[in-house]
């Protein structure tokens, strides 16, 4: 009895040994692979997806590769779907690399974990650039950066990747910009043409025809190998925080049009998928098709993508906090321990020294939290000369959030 059990265990051990590449081939033979595109039909991701799907079918032993469009919530629904799919290697797909932001900022609705995804490859590099309108009044980036008045830039809706890119660039390089969100698709370009905004940040390729038609020029590029000849953002970064932020944007530019599968795809099948992907993207017919479609191809395999994504997701707590700060719709706040100099209007305005500046801050009856000697108090109880810890907004009315005074 015992011997039979032992023998059975050994046999089980052998058959459960890691399957081979042949097993992977056999598995895919005759099956249908589903390639999920996280957008609706038409558009960049769909074009790349369909092209890649066609050639994956050629280089994989599967009988068919079908493209399935699962749009919604800015690629999040598609990414969720890919993440939750059966990890047998028969469902893979593509979504916006900008979802890195979604994960870093812990957005609602995110049900995926990019750390865990099975990365198959990426098809293009698409750096981000700042494009300024021909009639914007700026001849180059230096003029733009030196602007005294806030410069208006258009961007898609809050939460979109391009919006995040714009805010991060502005924060990293200390640019005096006002971002106007809500300009989806090519609305931003129209807005530049109408002279409402000076420019916008977007992917270099999507803005190419705008520039080619003479409506604007590339003022700055974030990332890339410098071969484009555009001024590089990295040159303007003044400190480590700035460099870290720019690196995040650059990483996304490098990993464009990625393809991934759910976590847990068996090693051998993933290896086969990666291999097929690389072959597909090196196929001269694919490259010819891509040329006709006018879409650039700059592939990298799954392992490289995994490394790049990991780097992008690994941000110091400082940078993550900075990111959340930048993305918040509210103005960043400043904290200072100081003495109240003057009180006006029954406590509605207080003046104090903050560093080298004298700040006049609004005190709200409802929004500002006032404490004196550890007890909740009203703004009319504030007196000149009190030593207080004040947290206030760094722009606009400099409204105070918290005023804690020690008598």
């Amino acid at each position: 009895m015992w011997k039979v059990a032992c023998a059975a265990a050994i046999v089980a051990g052998i058959t459960a040994a890691p399957a081979s590449a042949d097993e992977a081939e056999d598995f895919f033979k005759g099956k249908t692979l589903t390639y999920v595109v996280a957008t609706s039909p038409g558009g960049g991701y769909d074009t790349y997806g369909r092209l890649i799907a066609r050639y994956l079918e050629k280089h994989l032993p599967v009988s068919k590769v079908i493209v399935k469009n699962i749009p919604g919530a800015g690629h999040i629904v598609g990414a969720n779907t890919i993440y939750a799919a059966e990890p047998d290697g028969l469902t893979i797909g593509s979504f916006n690399t900008g979802l890195v932001y979604a994960q870093l900022l812990e957005l609602d609705g995110v049900q995926f974990d990019l750390h865990e995804m099975s990365w198959i490859g990426k098809a293009a590099s698409d750096t981000r650039s700042l494009v300024l309108g021909r009639d914007s009044g700026f001849v180059d980036f230096d003029a733009f950066a030196a602007a005294k008045e806030p410069v208006k830039l258009a961007s898609p809706g809050v939460g979109s990747a391009a919006y995040n890119d714009t805010k991060i660039l502005a924060a990293a390089l200390n640019l005096n910009v006002e971002v106007i969100p809500g300009f989806d698709g090519t609305e931003g370009e129209m807005s530049i043409l109408r002279g409402e905004v000076a420019g916008q940040v977007g992917t270099t390729s999507s803005l190419r025809s705008f520039v080619a038609n003479g409506h604007g020029f590339y003022a700055l590029e974030i990332g890339g190998d410098g071969s484009s000849g555009m001024p590089q953002a990295a040159a303007y970064a003044k400190d480590d925080n700035a460099r870290a932020l720019l690196a995040l944007v650059e990483a996304q530019g490098t990993v464009g049009r990625l393809t991934a599968g759910p976590p847990g795809i068996p090693e051998n099948r993933l290896a086969l998928l990666r291999q097929a992907y690389v072959r597909a993207l090196a196929d001269p017919e694919l490259l010819a098709d891509a040329k006709k479609l006018d879409i650039p191809i700059a592939p990298a395999d799954g392992a490289q993508v995994a490394t790049l994504i990991e780097t992008a997701l690994t941000q110091s707590p400082e940078t993550t906090a900075l990111l959340k700060h930048i993305m918040a719709a509210k103005a960043p706040t400043v904290s200072v321990k100081t003495e109240l100099l003057t009180i006006e209007d029954g406590g509605k305005k207080v003046t104090f020294q903050s560093g080298s500046e004298t700040v006049t801050s609004n005190v709200s009856g409802s929004r500002t939290q006032v404490e004196i000697d550890g007890k909740a108090a009203e703004r009319k109880d504030l007196k000149a000369g009190m030593a207080c810890e004040i947290e206030y907004e760094s722009s606009g009315e400099f409204e105070s959030k918290i005023i804690r005074c020690g008598g």
Binding site: P41, G42, G72, M190, S191
Partner: protein, 500 residues
């Protein structure tokens, strides 16, 4: 502009059997995408791209454009016959087209629709041709401020479409506006009214809402009533004569036809407004300019003519910013641009200079496709309209199925089914208690445009945006339009009092 290119392009088009063959092939394809609810021209282009890949650029562009430009002609057929919109912009045709079918005038409605579509399409092409020299300043004149005032203008049409009770219309319209708030707010990144559902982040799907509020109640009502769509007894004497009568109607209302064609083309020209806006604005215009507005909603043929001319003329208008700015005039054009680039045609101002021949070929394609489509569908119209005499028990399940498929395909989201049922129930209640339904769609469609434009305008100019010249002009028009509406109602009441 060199006149010889105008005619040489026509000559080349007509004498090319390949081109004519492709246009002919595009007719049934475009009609199919129009007739099947929820599919639409955009999906048509997407699905045809693999077949067009590798074709001669001109031929490929001709084929796709021919297909796309007649989608709304076919799309009005289920609107009229079953009260099921084939595409979003065809919903306005339901309001009067379907009651006509119910009265047994389905053939006449179809005839009017076909003639209107044909005329609209041709005028749209003409508009495209005439606007070529002055395009840039016109398109650039419309910014967020103007969009906002235009949206408000559209929303005031709620008043005109409310039938007898303004209050009911406003309530329904505001309900639509409320539903329009569902989704991710682009200004703050906050998900509103989504109840934690990722599916609702992109808002309520307009195609589903339109199908639900129009098609579902009609089918339920039909089931409750029993019988066939058309309650008219005489199925016999029927066919081509009725259809012809409808076409004569278009000639009779030639002023309205031409006006709404131009309005449709202008709305199509302005990127960002979209097809839904064009048809409702023109429908409202028809109501406003009619001497007997109370007929609308009960089978007034002008209610079919106005939106249908706009549906087709807007295609001509939308082509303008698409070809010359590479900026899509409508969502269908977004895909068209991708297709054109794939064919090797680069949209942009250079096109005017380097390839005027292609531009004129496309203009002529619009003309030929629209005329050809009318002729072809005309031949089939009498058979189509006999469907209205079909038993409800056969029709209803089929229509429900079409509605569900269309609703699902719109976003590839099964949750749309639930939405279809929910809004469908609401629609039935509105129908039962005789509350108007068009204002709901207006609120739903124009709400996001109004809010988005308002936010942008305030961010760009502050409240002073209302004082921009074009905005001021449109504010005046809006106030005038509302005042005119109230004046008319008062006059009607006085008339009634006088008659007594």
């Amino acid at each position: 502009m060199h006149l010889d290119v105008v005619f040489s392009s026509l000559r080349d088009l007509i004498t090319s059997p390949m081109a004519l063959g492709l246009i002919l092939l595009a007719m049934p394809i475009g009609s199919f995408f129009g007739i099947m609810p929820g599919l639409g021209g955009k999906l048509g282009i997407v699905l045809l791209i693999p077949f067009v890949f590798g074709m001669d650029p001109t031929l490929g562009a001709v084929f796709l454009l021919a297909m796309h430009s007649i989608v709304h002609t076919g799309g009005a057929i289920p609107s009229i016959l079953f009260g099921v919109p084939g595409t979003g912009p065809d919903a306005a045709t339901i309001v009067d087209g379907y009651p006509m079918a119910q009265k047994g005038e389905g053939g006449r409605a179809l005839g009017a629709m076909l003639a209107a579509s044909g005329v609209g399409g041709v005028i749209g092409a003409l508009f495209l041709a005439l606007m070529l020299p002055v395009l840039e300043p016109v398109v650039l004149a419309f910014g967020p401020a103007e969009f906002f005032v235009l949206a408000i203008f559209g929303i005031t049409f709620i008043a005109t479409l409310s039938g007898r009770s303004l209050i009911k219309g406003l309530c329904v319209g505001l309900l639509g506006l409320m539903l329009a708030c569902v989704g991710m707010d682009p200004q703050t990144g906050v998900a509103r009214f989504t109840f934690g559902q990722l599916y609702l982040w992109d808002g309520v799907d307009v195609v589903t809402a339109v199908l639900a509020i129009f098609a579902v109640p009609e089918m339920i009502a039909l089931g409750v009533k029993g019988g066939a769509v058309s309650s008219a007894q005489t199925a016999a004497r029927y066919g081509f004569r009725d259809v012809l009568a409808g076409m004569v109607d278009v000639a009779r209302h030639w002023g309205l036809t031409i006006r709404t064609s131009i309005i449709g083309a202008v709305v199509g020209l302005i990127p960002g407004l979209g097809g839904d806006v064009a048809c409702w604005v023109c429908y409202g215009h028809a109501v406003q300019t009619s001497k007997t507005p109370e007929r609308f909603g009960h089978g007034a043929v002008e209610g079919v003519i106005a939106p249908e001319t706009a549906n087709n003329s807007k295609e001509g208008g939308a082509l303008l910013p698409t070809l010359f700015f590479g900026i899509p005039g409508s969502s269908g054009m977004t895909v068209m641009i991708g297709a054109l680039i794939m064919l090797g045609i680069q949209p942009g101002p250079a096109l005017m200079i380097e390839n005027l021949h292609l531009v004129w070929t496309l203009i002529w394609t619009l003309v030929i496709a629209n005329i050809l489509c009318v002729i072809l569908l005309l031949a089939c119209a009498p058979w189509f309209s006999r469907l209205t005499f079909m038993r409800g028990s056969l029709l209803i399940p089929f229509v429900f199925l079409m509605a569900m498929v269309g609703s699902y395909l719109s976003q590839f989201a099964w949750e749309n089914m639930i939405l279809l049922v929910g809004i469908g129930a609401l629609g039935y209640l509105l129908y039962k208690w005789k509350w108007p339904r068009p204002p709901f769609v207006i609120g739903l469609v124009l709400g996001p445009i109004a809010e988005d434009s308002l936010n942008k305008s305030l961010a760009l100019w502050g409240p002073a945006f209302l004082l921009r010249p074009l905005s001021l002009v449109m504010i005046v028009i809006t106030i005038g339009s509302v005042a005119f509406y109230f004046w008319r109602r008062r006059r009607a009441k006085v008339q009634v009092a006088y008659d007594h």
